[in-house]
């Protein structure tokens, strides 16, 4: 009995939902079924919101024990600070609301600078990667490096403003090889997505639900 509940039921639910959504999308059906599907989709949007809270549970589950377990003071403080700032954000958001000036202060002055820093620091690592590894060792890396060079230098207005024809090289790479290579991969990925659905429909895909709560 428990095996049916633990493994068979989730796979069964997935197959049923796939059949319902496909029939509602492809076939002409009475509006009552279409209303039921709207209701179902509304419910699952609510469910998805609950799933986001898992992130907070996961964070607390990983970092709370570290406060007591870790040896150095700095580690204890950092993990305690992580959970503290998370709680402060939630509490201020609940008390004053996310449109309040207090909350905007946290959002603008604490969250946004570091979120952008995560991406801007990559500019340095990109340059480091190019310096250390971007060497034309074989035909493939040569084509890749020439394409990177032409597109990157084509994106510098200081060059293209003075050499008008230069940007055409960049636009050619973007509109011809890039489009055709992406098209091949989009079709291949589309077929891949299709078969993920087929495997779930035929309850072949064991791994997708086994992961949760194993």
């Amino acid at each position: 009995m428990s095996n049916v509940l633990r493994v068979k039921l989730p796979l069964m639910i997935i197959s049923i939902i796939l059949v319902v959504i496909f029939t509602e999308y492809f076939l002409i059906l009475p509006s009552s079924i279409s209303n039921f599907v709207s209701e179902l989709q509304q419910w699952i949007v609510i469910l998805a919101a609950f799933a986001i809270v898992l992130g907070a549970f996961n964070l607390v589950k990983i970092h709370l024990p570290k406060i007591s377990k870790s040896k150095e003071i700095s580690d204890k403080f950092l993990n305690a600070w992580l959970i503290a700032i998370m709680t402060i954000t939630i509490v201020i958001g609940l008390i004053y609301g996310t449109t309040s000036s207090q909350y905007t202060f946290i959002f603008t002055n604490l969250l946004s600078p570091v979120s952008t820093a995560v991406w801007s620091i990559m500019a340095f690592y990109f340059c480091g990667a190019v310096l250390r590894t971007f060497r034309a060792r074989n035909l493939e890396s040569t084509v890749l490096i020439i394409s990177t060079f032409l597109v990157a230098s084509g994106n510098a207005p200081a060059i293209t403003a003075f050499i008008p024809w230069y940007e055409n090289l960049k636009t050619w790479i973007m509109n011809v090889p890039n489009v055709s290579a992406m098209r091949g991969m989009i079709i291949a990925t589309g077929i891949g997505v299709l078969f993920t659905g087929v495997k779930m429909l035929l309850q072949v895909e064991r791994r997708s639900t086994v992961g949760a709560g194993e």
């Binding site: 590894t133 890396s141 291949a188 077929i191 299709l194 087929v198 495997k199 072949v204 194993e214």
Partner: protein, 260 residues
């Protein structure tokens, strides 16, 4: 019955379901197992381990750098299949294998895989736990750790297939300068592939990572998926070529067909 403009789409979906069902029936009843073509990167692994045996140097292998919740993600599982394959090759040729984990929860899984590989090759006692190491869950620190291992222990091969991010160029970076290590990398995330192309000798790109997993596991379900997907890639190519011919002669045959 079927909404206008979606008839051919419905037929396409039903044929994918029918094809897969027929193939898995063929497999169960007639024992039909599709055969996948040789994949350059996988043959290179055998060659690399052979070279490592001659030079008497170790081989480093890792299932990539998954994020916190991504340890059970598809690419990491494909990376574990590659790790198991490399461990078996090394056990067979008596080459010491160094497997590193970038997540704490991956360490026991890696230890299990490498131990099984040694046992399957009948040299169970040759397995020792030091060779399976957890370096750090900070991706930069992990990449530095791998770089140190490849250099310090002069690994003959550096094989990392799985979920990779921006640190991929550090994972493979130093060896290209030295140039005596065969590097094999693989990931599905298209932004990271350039890092692998410029540093590795053999690269598994995008879908190839999952096909390599099916090739190594010889698991009938995965092989059938690859076979069925190939059929539909050929169908798409067929539609495309027929469409090109008819369209250049002025008729919208295929375009109207697809839009009915």
């Amino acid at each position: 019955m079927i909404q206008s403009g979606k008839i051919v789409q419905t037929m396409f979906l039903l044929t994918t379901i029918a094809t897969y069902y027929y193939l898995s029936w063929l497999n169960k009843e007639k024992g039909f197992v599709p055969k996948i073509r040789k994949i350059a990167a996988l043959d290179a692994m055998e060659e690399a381990v052979g070279r490592a045996a001659e030079m008497g140097r170790p081989v480093h292998v890792s299932p990539g750098t998954p994020g916190a919740a991504e340890s059970i993600e598809a690419q990491t599982i494909a990376g574990l299949a590659v790790t198991s394959h490399v461990s078996r090759l090394c056990a067979r040729n008596g080459v010491p294998v160094i497997a590193t984990a970038s997540r704490p929860e991956l360490l026991p899984v890696l230890q299990e895989i490498v131990k099984e590989a040694y046992k399957a090759e009948g040299v169970g006692e040759a397995y020792n736990d030091e060779n399976v190491r957890f370096l750090s869950d900070n991706s930069n620190a992990y990449a530095g750790g791998v770089q140190g291992i490849v250099e310090r222990e002069e690994c003959a091969a550096n094989i990392i297939v799985g979920k990779l991010y921006g640190t991929a160029n550090v994972l493979f970076g130093r060896a290209t300068v030295a140039g005596k290590t065969i590097q094999i990398g693989g990931t599905a995330y298209y932004l990271v592939v350039p890092h692998l192309v410029v540093t590795c000798d053999y690269v598994l790109m995008g879908e190839e990572v999952f096909v390599a997993e099916a090739y190594l596991n010889q698991d009938p379900k995965q092989l059938i998926t690859v076979f069925a997907q190939d059929i539909f890639k050929i169908i798409s190519l067929g539609l495309l070529i027929i469409g090109l011919l008819t369209y250049s002669m002025g008729s919208n045959l295929v375009i109207d067909f697809l839009n009915t």
